[in-house]
Amino acid sequence: MAYQLLKFALGGEYKEPRFFRDCQTPKKSYDAVIIGGGGHGLAAAYYLAKDHGITNVAVLEKGYIGGGNTGRNTTIVRSNYLTPDGVNFYDASVKLFEGLSTELDINLFYSNRGHFTLAHTESAMRTMRWRAEVNKHVGVESRVVGTDEIAKACPQMDLSCSGKAPIQGALYHEPGSIARHDAVAWGYARGADSMGVEIFQNTEVQSIDVKDGQVQGVHTSRGYISTGKVLSAVAGFTPRITEMVDLKTPIVIHPLQACVSEPMKPWLDTILVSGSLHVYVSQSSRGELVMGSSLDPYEVHSTRSTFDFVEGLTSHIVDMFPFLSNVKVVRQWAGMADITPDFAPIMGKTPIKGFYLDAGWGTWGFKATPISGKTMAYTMANDKAHDLIHSFRLSRFEEYELTGEKGAASVGH
């Protein structure tokens, strides 16, 4: 038994401290205000304090921390992207994730399971090779594997997918992992709080003051806060914030749905993704299958569930695993994904001085949590985009310099 548990057995009053203070009244002014108490916002706050010594920071969260997409994703961490910029960025995130449980002193259940992106067609196999070649070039472990290797990793799967879409091979990405998503937000919140950052839950931003192209402050449900630096890290709510400062972006909001099965004894050791069948699945440490599919096909700014989603997803899951016919789905839910035309994020400075954007995460936000926090903190502290995020700048659209992630997106997540 791990020795950390022994302290709980010593009896007496439960001595575990609060993870973070219960902040109620904001100060009049902060050096920086972060809108959004999800993983990204909290990580940015944490690294502002830790890397740059900027601790006079308020994090404003409309609901509760980690309640947005941080708590609604399927917790997959990987870096097998298509462009070198994408691979480098996510690889840096994976490396931060690997040390994060220790750094934040919270068990994130960061579990290295390996990640197969299944290819059912020859053209999917081409994309796999493309990704593998770019990954290898940048030093990330990805390779194209045949059906024998897939069968070895997941002998239970019907490789013919019930004859509907036989698997031809896969991109295998060894660093692929899953993590306990809520704990990431909690860990960053605790870390930031301990360095002086103030986290306000149930605090809504109502408007943002901009004068002469420079941010002046933020009107909130807890009063006005004066600040020269505002970070918007609100994922699916981004259009509502950018509208406040009259900033145009190409983001569109589509719901992304997922569901979990009832718990069963662990049998699926790897993370499986199939672009053709629009399925991704892994088994959590509780024994539930966590399953997702592609984005909803049209714009909605809510987290409503649809039956079509779960019908389509389960029919494909049963194609892959016929023996799951009578295994039950317990719960479905949705998040709001902020999608960009080139399936890469929008990060960094904006035409409005002091207004920084961390958005456009689509379905990849969770896996970027540490690195987005780190690079956005750098960008805010220095008012200069971090090298890793240069190609994700907002102006790339006006400049017709979109990133090339489109190819990988069809088999994303």
């Binding site: 509208e243 972006t249 569109v252 049209y298 909605v300 700014h301 079509d308």
Partner: protein, 101 residues
Amino acid sequence: MKLLNCPMNGTRPLSEFLFGGEFREMPNPDTSSDLEWASYVHYRDNAPGVKKEWWYHSPSGTWFIAERNTLSDEVLATYLYGKAPDATKTTKPRAKKEQSE
């Protein structure tokens, strides 16, 4: 499954439709600046609210405009492009004797 009212075919489940994106007025390509044009092709009116959108009824090949609240997902009106919203009343969908939405 959500229902949508095709102005030609009546109320149908969403599975019969394809979303064609936000309806956007094209600026005059001859007079717009590069920036205006880039803004037109890339940027979207993306905050929630009532939007005009393109929808396509696949079985009949009908494009039409839907005015939809993207926050509540409520459809306020559907009509053929260029036809005033009340023009929908002139077409009588024949699929069902009684329409409901």
